[in-house]
């Protein structure tokens, strides 16, 4: 089982520097620059840290999936912006 980076990733390199297993590297997905976790190398940080390091430093909500395929950092959990509030603001900007 392993963590996985999906296409919300903004390629900020933060996870790459803290992974104890050297499992993370820059790559591409769907033609877009994007960090990638090598599932064979990912240990879920077990034996090294209590928390998965990539998911503990990643600043982008929804960029990393945990082994259960759920968001490690769901919308609102990092920025503190309630998801409905964000959606309303975005809709308002679109309507301008």
């Amino acid at each position: 089982m392993a963590y996985e980076i999906i296409d919300n990733c903004v390629s900020c390199w933060a996870c790459e520097g803290v992974c104890p297993s050297g499992a993370i590297s820059p790559g591409t997905l769907h033609g877009k620059a994007h960090f990638v976790i090598d599932a064979k190398k990912c240990t879920e940080c077990e034996g090294d840290y209590a928390d998965a390091q990539c998911a503990s430093i990643c600043p982008i909500e929804g960029a990393i999936l945990n082994p259960l395929k759920a968001w490690a950092n769901p919308p609102g959990s990092l920025t503190g912006i309630p998801p409905e509030r964000l959606a309303a603001a975005m809709a308002e900007i679109q309507a301008r």
């Binding site: 390629s11 390199w13 933060a14 982008i60 920025t79 503190g80 509030r85």
Partner: protein, 503 residues
């Protein structure tokens, strides 16, 4: 381009002219560094970000080599360029240390006034120590005439002080928005510390402790530290005076209060939640309040982490990596030319200081002459040489009976200040007038009829009579005129206009 202004070769004069503000007119009298001990003044004398007066002559550049960050700020969205903390978004041109060094040397050869190289992002430089220090290491060897500086949120500072002091980095900027964890929790939702993400007050407390500890460690080693604070109305505005006191006690030599810039389209917490930025008046009042405690910096234009050029201008497009790759740089020759140009600038600065504005010449010495704010349009050289309609920003000066001092820059495009909302259907001109609220005159080289009338109606007197004159001299002259014709006996229009604009 006429060369008499700075006595430079044609090519450099053009650069000056493109500069947002190259006025030499801020003058040593009002220079915020005048009270510093000599050895510190000496160090920052040519530093455009630290010396109010130097920033008219010298250029700085930043390179984006540090993508990762270890905290989250509510005014930042890692997906986009950050308006507050001098950093581009992570997707903007990220450079390897090797490429960064090439770029810096290319710029240094092309812009001899470039004296300072900073690393400020896009993440936190000290959260990317290998890339940051590799860049500094190479530059110390290859371009020893460039000063190095670094900006940080402070979290990783204590553990990096040792390494920092090895690289001969004598300027560090720490962004410190609070010294109170409760307030900190409203600014920083989390920090990454000891391999955990720590949220709320606990995280903020760790950050604050590390910032102050790092600040002390640096100043103990004789490394200059400037503190930046973002002013967030209703969050830390009342508290920043205390921050000023604390950071001064811990050895910071300069405090720079910047206005929060928050728009919903930035996607930041503050932007989406409708947190407003301060008005010009609020910012200035706070800067004045803090100035009682320590040296304040007023000329910061919140330049981006990948910016190139004099403060307020960005020539980054001329130095993208594809262009840099094909440049053939002879750095030995460039260093000689740089020295020549910088020596010339120093000569000019000395002459300038000898002939400072003398307001004693005021023929009317009325009891209590109130101060007046004036806006100035300049494209460089310390003189009034910009057409009103071409100005991308105005320099705000305050004149009183004894002194002319530089207050701030106000940009007139892209960003409409703080709580002033840019309502629909407002013309650009209306917005400019709002931006200039509080000013009683605007000095420019030329101005059209339409803006003239509107400005006059708004209580801001247009003045094109001092075209090509020294900024401080001209501001002093206009002030003297106002004193003569009784304009200073009327109350300042500042408050009403500001109240309307800020409402």
């Amino acid at each position: 381009m006429e060369l008499t202004v700075l006595g430079q070769p044609a090519e450099q004069a053009t650069i000056e002219a493109e500069g947002g503000c190259s006025s030499s007119g801020c003058g040593s009298d009002s220079d915020s560094l005048s009270h510093l001990p000599d050895h510190i003044r000496e160090k920052v004398h040519n530093h455009p970000c630290y010396s109010e007066e130097a920033h008219h002559h010298y250029a700085r550049m930043h390179v984006a080599v540090a993508p990762a960050c270890n905290i989250q700020c509510h005014y930042c969205n890692r997906k986009y360029d950050c308006a507050n903390e001098s950093r581009p978004g992570v997707v903007s041109e990220l450079l390897s240390p090797d490429d960064a060094v090439k770029k810096v040397m290319a710029v240094a050869a092309e812009i001899p006034q470039m004296t300072v190289l900073g690393i400020a992002g896009p993440g936190d430089p000290l959260a990317n120590p290998e890339r940051t220090f590799e860049t500094f290491q190479q530059l110390t060897e290859k371009a020893p005439d460039i000063k190095l500086c670094v900006s940080t949120n402070g979290l990783a500072l204590p553990e990096q002080v040792e390494e920092l002091s090895k690289h001969n980095i004598d300027h560090v900027t720490i962004t410190i928005n609070t010294v109170d964890p409760e307030i900190g929790a409203q600014i920083y939702p989390w920090v990454y510390w000891n391999n955990r993400r720590i949220k709320g007050v606990k995280g903020a407390r760790i950050l604050i402790e590390q910032q102050q500890k790092g600040l002390k460690m640096l100043t103990d080693r004789g490394i200059l530290v400037k503190v930046n604070s973002v002013m967030i109305p209703g969050v830390n505005d009342k508290h920043l005076e205390e921050v000023s006191r604390v950071v001064k006690d811990n050895g910071a030599f300069l405090h720079n209060v910047m206005p929060l810039i928050a728009e919903a389209e930035h996607g930041t917490f503050y932007g989406v939640m409708g947190q407003r930025g301060p008005t010009h008046d609020e910012l200035q009042a706070l800067q004045d309040a803090c100035a009682g405690d320590m040296n304040m910096m007023r000329h910061c234009r919140q330049c981006r982490a990948d910016a190139v050029g004099l403060l307020g201008e960005d020539r980054g497009d001329e130095f993208t990596m594809d262009k840099v790759e094909v440049m053939d740089i002879d750095y030995e020759a460039a260093m000689e030319r740089r020295k020549q140009v910088q020596d010339d600038i120093e000569k000019q600065r000395k002459m300038k200081q000898a002939g400072l504005v003398a307001l004693e010449g005021l023929s009317v010495q009325k009891k209590e002459l109130r101060p007046v704010l004036m806006a100035v349009a300049t494209s460089g050289g310390g003189i009034i040489n910009e057409h009103f309609g071409h100005a991308k920003e105005f320099l705000i000066y305050e004149a009183n009976a004894t002194d002319v001092r530089f207050i701030s820059h106000r940009k007139v495009e892209l960003y409409c200040g703080g709580g002033d909302t840019c309502g629909d259907g407002e013309s650009v001109l209306d917005q400019i007038i709002k931006t200039l609220s509080g000013c009683e005159a605007v000095l420019c080289s030329k101005i059209g009829y339409e803006p003239w009338d509107l400005l006059e109606a708004a209580g801001i007197m247009p003045n094109g009579e001092h075209a090509m004159e020294d900024i401080e001299q001209a501001v002093a002259a206009v002030y003297a005129e106002m004193a003569e014709n009784g304009a200073l006996e009327k109350p300042a229009p500042t408050k009403q206009i500001a109240a309307q604009a800020g409402a």
